[in-house]
Symmetry: C2
């Protein structure tokens, strides 16, 4: 039984320019694995309308669910909401429900809901809102796409609020055996064991540490008994 | 004048499963920025033949250069070389030049060049080799695609060996102004300044730090005089 698949679309120039390391991808990958959704692809694209529109259409058509991060703030480079509306042929404008959320939030601190902040209430007409307990401005769900903020604390909060509504399969379990030998010595027997367990996926991730070669042999699967059996086999062979 | 664009294809289940944080993307992004090549897209895909083939074809067709990382080791899950051959309609087999490099390397340490290690000499017929000063097994260049290792130390070494052969544009300069105000207050004047400097790209990256809101205003461009002028303007407005 195939687990549902998800894709992530990271929107913004920050990672592509080398200035920032991604944090959201790593967080989402871990959360999805726990609920049995396979993160099957990630794309990172710049703040360019045509590129964003094409990417979200492609990912939305090939995966059960898509998660986006970035580009839903109040500044001129935040164009994600407009791109999503275009991608799915919906109109977009300041929506009363989103405006009310922002108004209540800014009233509390006596902050003016100015034109820039009001941009964050621009939501495609048929989208559902995603709660933002950190800074109020909502994300939204359009078709099978969850549109979320790029700021890690807000992204995390939004992921937490949508995860319970997702239907996953069996959680993906994973175990690792670290072997201090060259991959060239590991490869033969490791490949044979991988073939003997077609329901598991096995990968070798080599490293060089303090001048010694080694590899992390990572086994993924959904049946913990089979996973344990395969790990025992690996430990016997590589002990 | 548009700078050449590059894409990166990260191959392997490690990042998608949430086990590992990417390091190679961050490194490549920085190196490309320095030589004036715009990293315009990144895709992360699993160890699946059809997905890898489709992705490299798509990226190769839309960007001047593509860099891949991962999947060129000796284990059964290393399928990148075969996928590249398929993507570009070339045959693939153990090649004498690559075998000679491996033989010389393993002879030095008295290590057997076994069947598994010999897989690393499988190179598409018309590909050029990329030197690997760390662990010998070469990467390769096929069409406009640079196929490199996933192990960060080897990836870095391969990037260093190919960067001098690439023709970039003017290096992308970047300056940042950190402003401790909410993005909603920044957005209006920041957008006006961005409009006044169409040759620069300006982005706002909000953060929440010790309970205070702020944003890094990042300005990218190729002309340092214009960049300095815009930064001065930003400093005046947000001082």
């Amino acid at each position: 039984m195939r687990n549902p698949t998800a894709a992530m679309l990271v929107i913004g120039d920050e990672i592509l320019s080398g200035r920032t390391r991604d944090a959201n991808m790593h967080h989402l990958a871990g959360e999805l694995a726990e609920v049995g959704i396979t993160l099957a692809e990630v794309r990172i694209v710049p703040d360019q309308r045509d590129v964003i529109v094409a990417a979200v259409r492609a990912l939305s058509g090939t995966h059960d669910t898509v998660f986006t991060s970035g580009g839903i703030g109040p500044t001129h480079d935040d164009i994600t909401a407009d791109c999503m509306a275009e991608a799915f042929g919906q109109s977009i404008d300041v929506r009363d429900d989103a405006r009310a959320i922002l108004q209540a939030h800014y009233d509390k601190s006596g902050t003016d809901l100015n034109e820039a902040r009001l941009r964050m209430a621009r939501i495609p007409e048929h989208a559902g809102l995603i709660e933002n307990p950190v800074s109020a401005a909502p994300g939204f769900i359009i078709e099978n796409v969850y549109v979320m903020a790029g700021v890690p604390s807000v992204f995390k909060a939004m992921v937490a609020s949508v995860i319970p509504s997702l239907t996953g399969g069996a959680p993906l379990l994973s175990k690792t055996l670290t072997v201090y030998r060259g991959e060239g010595d590991i490869a033969g027997p490791f490949g044979e064991i991988a073939q003997a367990y077609p329901s598991l996926s096995m990968g070798s991730y080599p490293f060089q540490r303090d001048g010694k070669y080694g590899a992390n042999l990572v086994v993924h699967g959904q049946d913990s008994a089979i996973l344990d059996e395969a790990m025992k086999k690996l430990e016997e062979v590589f002990a």
